[in-house]
């Protein structure tokens, strides 16, 4: 529908704004309603009788499994599959790509992984409750909790659902119907006060609490420590999802921490505002989760990362509530206590309310893309853009493999989804200009702001790109790239149906090491796969997703066909571990935004030094001496 969206004009502008809104909010089935949710509401959890009608407006119900997969990514009604004709198809109605056929995907999939339609590895369809350990009950705690009226559950499905994030090993085990240690109980606080009560009771009765936001963790942060003998209670914040107030004078909003990204944006958009914080997981990840993991959004160049967006945080700890006394935009009052909270990964307490910066919705948005003859030139261009501090809202550079992958996801008929190369006159790039299709790479761009400035900005960026041999490659390609962000997460489940497992991981690295780290980590993955007996060439690719003054964020994707391996997850973990070692050896950080969790804990000491560890430990010891928040992340 927007194949010629470069037309300009105010109707155009509106249309783009709407379209953008729809991309973000469009997963909801027309449940956009009035301003009823934006009110400084009282805590709703006082009676067990909850307001059903307002419950319905939320994306995330208490029984998440009603709309979401229990053993894969995203909504139950949405998935990739190869249909009877062997064509890849994306089911459901939620996304722009939903219901479409991607004819090139099968060939790419088979060619890249050596996978075959004949060799399937389907998931166990339903969870057998016998696989789930009976809960360890703390009766005194439950007794008192009941009297507060806060809803809770011992249901096996509810518990299993909160026992994992989206690491490969977690999902792989679920697909095989294997369940380890799971929470013994799930509670759904409705507001800050509920949380205070829960934490008090937990301290009193020595119960282990694990905060649960959107469950999108990719660091094994939600995994229950198998050695935990106390009763584990998962504190699901999803029902704390209201915007408490909007302050238009200061452009801030007070929001409950359980709200998920898409609801937050949708509700703010209704009032003409946005936070601009858009992690790729924003459909499901929560504000509290972002704070707890130091999340980063795609458009951080304009809006900032979570640490730039947060003005005030309230967190309930075993020692009481921690918060600042005012909403001042910056303070010199010793080390910033927010920085103990941000990145605490649920080890210190539950974040309940956050004041965030908001911005008026952008007047104008424009996508774009640039093709470079090779990755080196692309990186050089991004570096220059960062140097001139003119990065668009988002700029991402895909390597050649990802460029091809994006090509393979091209749907069959749609003006928007014209072939990447067709739209650009294929031969112009590959032949005429001497671009080698096996080396070229593409950067996708997103500009935001008022129209004049966007157009000016756009020109500046394209001029820089030209200096590095980059050719503007149209808006469609850019837009398609960004739209795929939400869809790509579903692809892993398809791979897993055909013996292909994979994962992505990220790092941040100084500019002068970007190329080296990309090359070496990709090569290391291939090298390790070979050494560990993987029979097929792995997919090992990367992209530069964020630029900073002093460096960049790099994302790696890696996947392989595990046929012939007796313990694929173990092999996978070894390779991922080696890749992380390689990242560290090449000057990359342990994590740019995914966090440490339990997956990357082993490298914490070398990352932050002995003294650093000691500092964090002493904070933990003071705040939570009984290790009530016992998920054992980080330290």
């Amino acid at each position: 529908m927007a194949s010629n969206s470069s037309g300009g004009g105010s109707s155009d502008r509106q249309r783009i704004a709407q379209q953008r809104l729809r991309i973000i909010a469009g997963h909801l089935q027309g449940r956009v309603d009035g301003d009823s949710t934006i009110l400084a509401a009282e805590c709703k959890a006082q009676g067990s009788q909850t307001d059903v009608s307002s419950e319905e407006k939320k994306t995330v119900p208490r029984r998440r499994q009603e709309i979401m997969k229990w053993n894969g990514w995203g909504y139950s009604d949405t998935k990739f599959l190869f249909n009877k004709k062997g064509q890849a198809e994306f089911t459901g109605k939620r996304y722009r790509l939903s219901g479409m056929i991607m004819p090139a995907l099968k060939e790419w999939f088979e060619g890249t992984f050596g996978a075959s339609m004949q060799h399937k590895s389907l998931a166990t369809p339903v969870l057998t409750s016998s696989a789930v350990q009976p809960p360890i009950l703390n009766e005194a705690f439950e007794e008192e909790l009941k009297s507060t009226g806060i809803p809770s559950s011992h249901d096996a499905e509810d518990r299993v659902y909160r026992a994992h994030g989206h690491c490969l090993n977690e999902i792989f085990a679920l697909r095989e119907g294997k369940v380890g240690r799971v929470p013994d109980m799930v509670v759904w606080p409705n507001c800050h006060k509920d949380v205070v009560e829960i934490v008090e009771l937990a301290c009193k009765h020595d119960v282990c609490l694990i905060p649960y936001g959107g469950g999108t963790s990719v660091s094994s942060a939600l995994e229950c420590p198998p050695e935990e003998t106390r009763s584990i209670v998962s504190v699901d914040t999803s029902q704390m999802n209201r915007i408490l107030w909007i302050d238009e004078k200061n452009l801030t909003a007070r929001v409950e921490a359980g709200i998920v990204g898409q609801d937050l944006e949708r509700l703010l958009n209704e009032s003409g505002y946005c936070t601009g914080h858009e992690p790729d997981s924003m459909e499901f990840s929560s504000l509290g989760g972002w704070v707890a993991t130091r999340a980063s959004g795609m458009k951080k160049n304009i809006y900032g990362n979570i640490e730039d967006l947060v003005i005030h945080v309230k967190m309930v700890t075993p020692q009481g509530v921690i918060e600042k006394s005012c909403q001042g935009p910056r303070m010199s009052t010793g080390p910033d206590i927010h920085h103990f909270i941000m990145g605490s990964e649920g080890t210190l307490g539950v974040v309940t309310e956050v004041t965030m910066k908001i911005r008026p919705m952008p007047e104008y948005q424009k996508y774009g893309s640039v093709v470079f003859p090779n990755f080196e030139q692309g990186v050089a261009c991004l570096r220059e853009v960062a140097k001139q501090r003119c990065a668009p809202a988002s700029i991402r550079l895909m390597d050649n493999e990802q460029f091809k992958f994006g090509h393979a996801l091209k749907p069959q008929v749609s003006s928007l989804f014209t072939s990447f190369l067709d739209g650009l006159k294929k031969f112009y790039i590959t032949k005429f200009k001497g671009f080698d299709p096996d080396r070229l790479c593409v950067a996708t761009l997103l500009f935001e702001g008022d129209r004049e400035k966007v157009l000016q900005h756009e020109k500046q960026v394209y001029d820089i790109a030209a200096k590095f041999g980059g050719l503007a490659a149209g808006e469609d390609n850019g837009q398609r790239g960004y739209m795929l962000t939400f869809v790509i997460a579903y692809l892993r489940d398809l791979g897993m149906d055909y013996y292909v497992i994979g994962e992505s991981f990220e790092t941040s690295v100084p500019w002068d090491r970007v190329l080296d780290i990309c090359r070496n980590v990709k090569a290391r993955i291939t090298h390790e796969c070979k050494g560990k007996g993987v029979q097929f060439q792995p997919l090992s690719t990367c992209r530069v997703t964020q630029t900073y003054d002093a460096g960049a964020c790099v994302y790696f994707y890696f996947a392989f066909n595990y046929r012939g391996l007796s313990d694929p997850v173990h092999v996978y973990e070894q390779v991922e571990r080696a890749a992380r070692e390689e990242i560290l050896a090449n000057g990359g950080s342990l994590s740019h935004h995914h966090g440490v969790g339990k997956l990357r804990k082993e490298w914490m000491r070398e990352t932050i030094s002995n003294v650093g560890m000691g500092m964090l430990k002493s904070v933990k010891d003071y705040v939570d001496p009984k290790n009530i928040f016992g998920n054992r992340n980080l330290l």
Binding site: R513, D516, R519, N586, G587
Partner: protein, 681 residues
Amino acid sequence: MASIAVYSHRDPMLKKRDDFEDILEERRNSSDLRYALRCYAPVLYKGVAPCKSGMLKSMVLQSDQLHYVINQLSKETGRTTADVQVQASAILEEMAHCLQLSTVRFFAFTLCKVFKTLFRSICVNEEGIQRLQQAIQEHPVVLLPSHRSYMDFLLMSYILFTYDLSLPVIAAGMDFMGMKFIGEMLRMSGAFFIRRSFGGDKLYWTLFSEYVKTMLKNGYAPVEFFLEGTRSRTSKSLTPKLGLLNIVMDPFLKGEVFDVHVVPVSISYERILEETLYARELLGIPKPKESTSGLFKARKVLSEDYGSIHVYFGQPVSVRSLSEGKVNRCQFNQQPRHIPRRTGEDINSFVNDSAYRLVRAQEENMVLAPWVLLASLLLQNHHQNQTQGMAVDELTAQAVWLRDVSRQYGAFLHWPEHIPPSEVVSSSLSLHRGLVRICEGRVQLAVEPAGAPAGPGEPHSSVTQEEELLSRAVTVLSCASYRNQALHIFVRPALLASAIHTASSCQKQEVFNSFSFLRNMFSNEFILCPGATVQDFEEACYLLGKTGALQVTQQEVLVTEGGHRTLAFLSNMLDPFLQGYQVVCRFLCEEVTETLTEKLFIPAVRKFIIKHLLEGRLRYTEVLSSDLQKNSLAALLRIGAVRKVQGVEQATLKVNRVMVNSLEDTLGGKLPTQKAVVARL
């Protein structure tokens, strides 16, 4: 004693080696010109185009590293950066190679002719070539040939050209530059030149290392250099030099390349062109300066038969896997990589260990001719009964025995199986007829001037005793250099044999202490990997046990009935070195005054040794080798028995007499090894 099981060594005999192919054979049957002019299209690293030398130079001149150092120098000295820049360009000009295919073709053509007259065959393991070809495509490659002759690097390039492989860029010593024309020719065939010493010259060092790294990182050409630094005059491998190895490993350690593959190459000459030249040099008869005319004088060399050359391209070694668990690459994350920094201890010891491993890898694939065994036997015989020599039959029988022993120790012996041993022996003797005399069915070293006086034109009478001794020594040292080719096979068992000999009992710990002492003493003399005492001991025990010479139990090391012969042979092999070190000790105790400068050490010790030899107090003429003298001094310095005191002009040697004395006695078996100084087994 429980550590025995920890080290499991591979049986060296089971080592699999590739077959050889004679590359001269085809040259004898088809046109050399066509060969030299044929299409040459080598595979390249990830398909990169080889870069012109001008481009390479400008990359080096534009590198961050160089800029940093230039700025620093300019700040330190007050010179303008432009000025330093000019100097940098000049240095680079002097250093850089300038590979030209036409010159390569010229060499290919000429060398064909030369090689065909000099050598019977040049044998190359083709599987090694294939492995190399593979490696070149996947990773930056460093070629590390052994260095026994001037011939080595021309030979290497010749072989690579023959197999259509990328021609290497070779680090060559500046001394070649003395020969103007040849120097430039070599430059055009891929050599680049480095000054021998540029210790503190930061600018030079930076240019040099950037030059090498730029080639490596971009994969333009394999880099070739000699790990031993210089030609070994003794045919023993030399203690590796670390400078260049450090440089080529650096891009990997800093993450600038995924990996670097290092390929040890073993070049074995059946007869070394420089044979007597080396012996003279070791004896202190001054070295002729390398000059073009000097090289042409070597033309008479062309009329002789030098047998075969074997070139074995070893398994490429991945620096990445070598370094696994040994270095922490994160240390380079704390500051920009172009700013020079002191290398960490872990890196120094990693490079050192790797260097030893690589030299051992070279040694392992050195092809030994039967003559090497004959030379060993003849030398021992020579020292036992100076005059009569050995009956040829006896020599043959012993050679066959030694052949079998050395094979069991893993020697890569080229002993033609289809020919009766007597013929193998006689043809070996005839190839080396300058070194042996056969008379009435008996063989001995040709130490007496064969009928004619030592030097033509010189009146016989003027030959002093000393001159006669030296001329005998030339033959002995030449012979010893062949024996030395086999030393890497025997050194560990020989150290054990000597240790058993000197140990006060056959208690294993006792023997190990002696072994460890000797090994430590000789670690400047032979290639013994640092810190591998226990492994070496285990290996020696294993080999001698396997061949039935020893019975090794938990507690004891016992020589078997049949083992005495082997053990005697082995200790005899080491004996010249043992005696030599003792004499040097004695010299230091008896003769050294306060003022012996380092420079005067060699002439003084030589004089002392000559005296001993002439007085009949010392058997082994080969102790006259300056190599042995230098090595023993280095060992004593390392151990701390001698100290270097930096004087106003020169360093003088300060001897700890008590210590040197006791070392001498321990070497002579008169004092038990001090337990405290050696590790427990």
